[in-house]
């Protein structure tokens, strides 16, 4: 589904990703872990197409197509979704209106007509219930004055509405208490199928107790230095990252 080959990327001429290789197949959950500043969020942004990053080398293919040069919205139309670590506040545009706009823009790009209002409402209700989102929340301005937990829950709500093929969750667990974390993880699990895939970017193993990964990758200094199964996450939780550094030196 997603194939990243020898990806080098820079921001303001500073190379941050220094040769990433990653293959994600349908039905898989990948976790990317790593210390602060290792390039985790950069990787997420580069996959989603953020313009301030310059691709120096390598490429990204999604479902057989090179998407390296596509605009972020074109990648979204192909089924990519990024859950932001710091979602942006949009005053004056309600959660519902925002989601409607996003869905219909995606449909328009595929040459489909707008989703009928009844169908849209039904879907909104369904997904909001699944994520235990209060109806009143939906008429509030997007992310404006939301708590950290509300913002993250709103990201997953958008993911649920847009039904992406590949979702990248960037530090979705940060700022969440354990109850909110369970609700969010539960939502992500319900959206999982054999046809879609998830990349979970996280600092802590905690989230991985609820969203169980098939593969765990350790990102350090712009490179994936170690890959393994979920046991690797436990090992990192127990021992930190230093032992990997030492291993690398050897």
């Amino acid at each position: 589904m997603l194939h990243i080959k020898n990806l080098h990327a820079a921001v303001e001429e500073k190379e941050i990703l220094k040769g990433i290789d990653l293959d994600v197949n349908p039905g898989e959950v990948h976790a990317i872990m790593g210390p602060n500043g290792s390039g985790k969020s950069t990787l997420a942004s580069v996959i989603a197409g953020k313009e301030e990053f310059e691709l120096l080398k390598g490429n990204i293919t999604f479902e057989g197509e090179d998407i390296s040069e596509l605009d972020p919205e074109e990648r979204a139309h192909k089924g990519l979704f990024l859950s932001f670590q710091y979602p942006v506040e949009i005053p004056g545009v309600s959660v519902t209106n925002f989601v409607k706009t996003a869905i219909n823009e995606n449909r328009k790009a595929k040459g489909e007509a707008d989703m009928p209002a009844g169908e849209m409402l039904k879907m909104i209700k369904e997904k909001a219930d699944m994520l235990e989102i209060d109806r009143k929340f939906l008429s509030r301005s997007l992310n404006e004055g939301f708590s950290g937990g509300e913002k993250k829950r709103n990201e997953i709500f958008q993911m649920a509405m847009l039904e992406p093929k590949l979702a990248i969750l960037d530090e979705t667990d940060s700022g969440l208490d354990i109850d909110a974390l369970k609700v969010v993880a539960n939502g992500v699990n319900k959206l999982k199928s054999k046809d879609n895939a998830v990349i979970v970017i996280t600092h802590y193993q905690r989230l991985l107790d609820y969203i169980v990964p098939d593969f765990v990758h350790v990102l350090m200094n712009g490179k994936i230095v170690k890959s393994g199964t979920k046991e690797l996450a436990y090992e990192l939780e127990a021992k930190g990252y230093d032992w990997i550094k030492e291993e690398l030196v050897k």
């Binding site: 197409g49 942006v88 823009e105």
Partner: protein
């Protein structure tokens, strides 16, 4: 002959023509002297540093249009709030048009300044209010000298006017270039409520320069909501001077929507004379090409325990230019004041520019005043966020601009007008958003 000389020499003939017993005869004579002495404002004056009238003054304006041009309702219907019932005062090339208007004398006066100036029964009101709050600067004086026609609105004590009043000034292009000088007088009695919408609209591509003056008097506990819609042709320019005098516990709010015109200068002046007054000055400016919009505001706090709120948003595309010059003046006795001023701008293109100058002059020691201005581009992180949701660049920009201007719209109290402004903004930004605004 320069426009100034032409105006000064036309004045004698103009004044000769008028009824001799007009109560404002002396005011006119004094006013033309002020104008003759000061002339048109130049960039040398601090208040006109960033707005030049020079290019406009080169046109050979007709001062007294020859013929009244009739216009069809079907051609201008779109400029009215046609989906609700309103009182209407319509002027075509400066002349009252009774066919398009809907006036009243039934428990309130919505009629013409010309009749108020000439009929004895209005004499007391005219003497008490006319030109009593207007500043004697050159352009206001010019307007006073030639003051003849405009809206006269008098809301008596305790009257809540149930429908909005629209004041619309059309220009037809009957003349190659025309100078219009409407003069409005609005007196809102104790505890009375009124909503007024003012619009200037050119129906041709001929040059129009409007030098409009409006005086508003809000008596105790009066509520005045005033909306200015400035969405005129690219060949029409407007200098709009509004003077608002507020008595105790009155609430006055002026919304200025500047979406079009060649050059617009808004001089908006509030004088709070009684305690616990509340003034709101809101504005949204969205312009393009070489358009120019200048907001020059003054809130003069004289009495204690008052509030004022200013919120101006500007979006400037192409090589359009904007000016915000907002002054809050707090006198020694105006204690316990809450004054707030904000001016936020987005420059869409590199050639667009804005000069923003908030000013506070405070002579009281127990007040809360804040002001701030920002000038920036659309937030790139926000753009990326919207795009990553599948929203195209153009729509994403529109959504962000809409969000940027939105809080100013929140305070528009006439739903039909709000919907209309929403639509104008969407059109102006160039997209139809995927939901009902």
């Amino acid at each position: 002959m320069s426009l100034k000389d032409k105006l000064v020499s036309s004045y004698i003939a103009f004044e000769d023509h008028l009824e001799d017993d007009s109560p404002i005869h002396d005011l006119r004579n004094d006013a033309i002297k002020v104008f003759e002495e000061k002339g048109f404002p130049s960039k040398k004056e601090e208040a006109w540093k960033y707005t030049s009238l020079n290019a406009l003054l080169k046109n050979d304006y007709s001062i007294f249009p020859n013929n009244e041009r009739s216009i069809e309702l079907k051609d201008v219907r779109k400029y009215f709030l046609h989906d609700i019932d309103t009182y209407k005062l319509v002027f075509v090339d400066g002349v009252y048009n009774s066919f398009l208007s809907d006036t009243t004398h039934d428990s309130l006066d919505v009629c013409l300044l010309s009749s108020a100036l000439n009929k004895p029964k209005y004499k007391a009101v005219i003497e008490a209010y006319f030109n009593k709050t207007a500043v004697k600067d050159s352009l206001t004086s010019l307007n006073t000298a030639f003051a003849k026609e405009g809206a006269y609105i008098h809301i008596p004590k305790n009257k809540e006017v149930e429908k909005p009043i629209e004041i619309i000034n059309f220009s037809t292009g009957n003349e190659a270039a025309i100078l219009l000088q409407p003069r409005n007088l609005i007196v809102v009695g104790e505890n009375a409520h009124v909503q007024i919408i003012e619009r200037h609209q050119s129906l041709s591509k001929n040059q129009v320069l409007t030098n409009s003056v409006t005086e508003i008097f809000a008596e105790k506990r009066a509520f005045v909501d005033y909306y200015k819609i400035q969405n005129d042709a690219h060949t029409a320019s407007l200098v709009d001077s509004t003077y608002i005098s507020q008595e105790q516990e009155s609430h006055c709010r002026v919304h200025t929507f500047s979406f079009g015109g060649k050059l617009i200068r808004n001089n908006l002046n509030f004088y709070q004379k009684g305690e616990r007054c509340d003034s709101t000055l809101n504005g949204i400016t969205i312009i393009e090409d070489k358009q120019h919009v200048d907001h020059n505001t003054l809130v003069h706090h004289i009495a204690p325990n008052c509030e004022s709120h200013q919120d101006y948003k500007g979006i400037f595309a192409d090589s359009s230019t904007g000016v915000f010059n907002g002054k809050v003046y707090v006198e020694k006795d105006a204690q316990k004041l809450d004054a707030f001023q904000k001016n936020n701008n987005i420059l869409v293109d590199d050639k667009a520019s804005i000069n923003s100058k908030p000013q506070l002059e405070i002579f009281a020691d127990d007040v809360r005043c804040s002001h701030g201005c920002t000038i920036g581009q659309l937030d790139e992180e926000a753009m990326f966020y919207l795009q990553s949701r599948g929203i195209g660049k153009k729509e994403a920009r529109a959504l962000l601009m809409y969000a940027f201007a939105n809080n100013v719209l929140e305070s528009v109290k006439i739903p039909e007008l709000k919907a209309r402004i929403n639509k104008l903004i969407a059109t102006k930004i160039g997209v139809s958003l995927g939901f009902e605004l």
